[in-house]
């Protein structure tokens, strides 16, 4: 939509997009800060039991990291192939996360079964939803044959958020 930018000169437009991204990332930080404080309080509950994550969860992490590397390539060299490959890896990551959910539910650790399981479902779902937004943005850029710049930064950030979630759930 042209209306998104119609009032802005190119330089202002670029700076505005950067400001918007940083402010948006701040909301994500605060969202996960809210979850973190809930996690730290909730794990002192009487019924707390640690949950062993399937190996696939860690393999997924590597997939997401690889997607970030490819996006960085796409950004620096304006390579459309790398952007497409990153998109594919992002989709594989999301599919893999759904598979992890299935494995956990099959093992009797669905949302309502254990509190830590509930946190895993919640945090991975919220992270996944944000990544779905990132996938949408990347598709939009690829369709317009433009190099990912801020979208790459957004993906890197979501990669860090995912590492943070794993660390939080792992080191209690």
């Amino acid at each position: 939509m042209d209306a998104m930018t119609s009032t802005l000169a190119p330089r202002t437009s670029r700076r505005s997009a950067e400001t918007m991204l940083v402010a948006f990332l701040a909301t994500i930080v605060m969202l996960f800060a809210g979850f973190t404080s809930a996690f730290l309080i909730r794990r002192t509950g009487s019924d707390w039991q640690p949950v062993e994550l399937p190996r696939l969860a860690y393999a997924n992490t590597l997939v997401l990291a690889a997607a970030s590397v490819l996006l960085e390539l796409a950004r620096r060299r304006a390579s459309p192939g790398a952007a497409r490959a990153a998109l594919a890896l992002g989709l594989i990551f999301l599919g893999g996360q759904v598979q992890v959910w299935r494995m956990l539910s099959a093992g009797g650790m669905f949302l309502s079964d254990t509190p830590e399981g509930a946190f895993f479902f919640l945090l991975s779902a919220v992270h996944g939803l944000h990544l779905v937004g990132g996938v949408g943005a990347l598709v939009w850029l690829i369709a317009r044959a433009r190099a990912p710049r801020l979208v790459a930064a957004y993906w890197h950030f979501l990669g860090l958020v995912w590492l943070y979630v794993l660390l939080l759930l792992h080191f209690q």
Partner: protein
């Protein structure tokens, strides 16, 4: 939101605004113009205020004449809950922050629109279904939500707890989700616009204080709402997916022990108030910023201590995020933590007093013009003084433990987030009405409106402090069945009469608003002889805000009685 924006030829800048959209729908309904969107917010808030105000009249009727049982006890809880929710989020936040924020920010910083007009329109059209869902909740089985505007579990987490905990509470959560989404989109847009779209020469310290306060309020909102989103998601899990984030074990409903285990309702309270307290400043700060602008204009003096006020506001914003625990002194808290929250809370008094004293000192040696906008702004000074005084007793755990859940609290917070914000909204409305419609509001009706707002509202909320001192408790359906509340009850009827008067007084405003928009006195571009950038354009402000040439700021926003000049005032845009 994070998409990269397309590079456009430089000429597109001004020319995009040469042609305002022509069709009625694009101009007035699905408009991308920040002024239209701001006005849409304000009108929506006025509509919601009729509902929220009507609910308050119902509350006052029940409290003063419990024997008539005008509503059932269950409905009374819903009425109290919905009055609070609608007033805080769907009236004050909407009119003052979303409405006037949208209308004023681009005009006052010399921008042609928000940085992201489409996102802006999207944020308005997100709140519309939110309002509809809130209203719809009254008509579903079990009635509207009844867990208080704070939505504490277990009332909000167990669908079977009270009638309003069912579908009504679900709709409440959905409506709030839409509100948070809309408010966050708005806040991100404000921050981006203020940082990047200011006119040439408009340094950050040349912005009017109202823009500063909208800026700080947007930052607070963007940082404080996400943890509430996290809490709301966990609450939805507890309600619909069988998780136990906030629900402890051993709860019994009917004959049956519930399956929940290990959660803690206290956790929700912490997450809620982590938003709830900053939200106070999200709505109070813009009202104070508006008071600074209005007082400067009609006292014909620059506001006292501009920079000091900016720093005080930033300090208030920071402190407001680390004092949420003072809402929970009686919820079960380590006394040491309570001590910390007391000290931190009371320390807000220092920067907040700076703002109050600066407002007062801005009148010093002024040539005051007593317009309606000015009397509302002056009213704000007195109310923040009185409301702030009550706050000292509630911020300190020692006295708060006695006052908690009493009418003292009700009186205090209504003064601060009810009367201050409402009067800020009205001051803004009377002051900037010419920029909206090219006409001025009727001053006589305005004075009448002020008298019918200020006097009755002060009476209501100051008297409530006395009820609280006597030990009268809030949220009770029928105080008459408790002996210890007999003393406080003597004030219930007088308070209700004043409350009805205040409610009726608002219709004077409504009539004045509608009449003046169509038939009011026509005025020129700068009827108040003001100095800030928004008066450097026609009234009403045209599409694109300023003419073909981009505006340039050559001085600060408040150059009244400039030194070394014979002129009475020097506008921001003239050499």
């Amino acid at each position: 939101m994070v998409l990269e924006t397309q590079a456009r030829p430089a000429g597109a800048h001004a020319s995009a605004h040469d042609h305002a959209p022509q069709s009625f729908l694009r101009r007035y309904v699905f408009s991308l113009d920040h002024k239209v969107i701001g006005l849409q917010y304000i009108l929506t808030a006025m509509f919601m205020a009729l509902i929220g105000g009507g609910l308050s009249a119902l509350i006052r009727y029940q409290v003063a004449w419990p024997e008539k049982a005008v509503v059932s006890p269950e409905t009374y809880l819903s009425v109290v809950t919905m009055h609070g929710t609608i007033m805080v989020f769907f009236v004050v936040s909407l009119a003052l922050v979303s409405g006037f924020g949208n209308f004023l920010i681009p005009l006052q910083i010399g921008a042609r629109d928000m940085a992201y007009p489409l996102l802006n329109a999207l944020s308005y059209w997100t709140i519309v279904p939110g309002c509809l869902l809130m209203i719809l909740a009254f008509f579903v089985e079990g009635g509207a939500a009844a867990a208080g505007w704070t939505a504490y579990p277990p009332l909000s987490a167990l669908a079977e707890a009270v009638p309003g905990s069912g579908l009504g509470q679900t709709l409440w959560l959905l409506a709030m989700a839409l509100f948070i989404a809309s408010f966050t989109m708005g806040g991100l847009n404000y921050i981006t616009t203020i940082l990047n779209c200011r006119a040439k020469g408009m340094g950050l310290l040349r912005m009017p204080l109202s823009v500063w306060m909208f800026f700080v309020s947007a930052i607070l909102g963007v940082l404080a709402f996400p943890p509430l989103t996290a809490a709301a998601l966990m609450l939805l899990g507890d309600r619909h997916l069988g998780t136990s984030f906030f629900l402890p074990g051993g709860m019994v409903f009917g004959e049956e022990v519930l399956a929940h285990e290990g959660g803690t309702p206290l956790l929700f309270q912490h997450l809620f108030w982590f938003l709830g307290h900053p939200e106070v400043y999200v709505i109070v700060l813009p009202a104070i910023g508006i008071a600074f602008d209005v007082i400067a204009t009609y006292a014909r003096r620059p506001p006292f201590g501009y920079r000091m006020s900016v720093w005080a506001t930033l300090l208030i914003a920071f402190l407001s995020m680390i004092v949420w625990g003072h809402h929970m002194y009686v919820s079960g808290m380590n006394p040491l933590v309570g001590e910390y929250f007391s000290i931190a809370t009371v320390s807000i008094t220092a920067p907040f007093s700076i703002l109050g004293v600066n407002l007062l000192a801005s009148l010093w040696r002024g040539k005051i013009r007593f317009t309606t906008a000015m009397v509302f702004a002056l009213g704000i000074i007195s109310v923040i003084g009185l409301g702030g005084l009550g706050g000292l007793y509630l911020g300190t755990s020692t006295s708060d433990i006695y006052f908690h859940d009493s009418y003292f609290v009700v009186g205090h917070f209504h003064l601060m987030i009810g009367v201050v914000t409402l009067m800020g909204t009205y001051a803004a409305c009377y002051h900037w009405f010419p920029k909206m419609f090219g006409r001025a509001m009727n001053e006589r009706l305005g004075y009448l409106h002020f008298a019918l707002t200020y006097v009755p509202m002060m009476a209501v909320f100051v008297l409530m402090h006395y009820q609280g001192l006597s030990g009268m408790l809030r949220r009770y359906y029928d105080h008459s069945i408790y002996d210890f509340q007999t003393v406080g009850r003597e004030l219930s009827k007088p308070i209700s009469y004043w409350a009805f008067a205040a409610f009726a007084g608002q219709f004077v405003f409504l009539a004045n608003f509608l009449w003046s928009a169509l038939r009011g006195r026509k005025v020129g571009s700068n009827p108040w002889e003001a100095t800030s950038m928004e008066w450097n354009t026609e009234s009403p402000a045209p599409h694109g805000n300023f003419g073909a040439a981009d505006p340039v700021a050559v001085r600060g926003p408040y150059d009244y009685a400039p030194e070394g000049s014979s002129k009475e005032y020097a506008p921001q845009w003239t050499q």
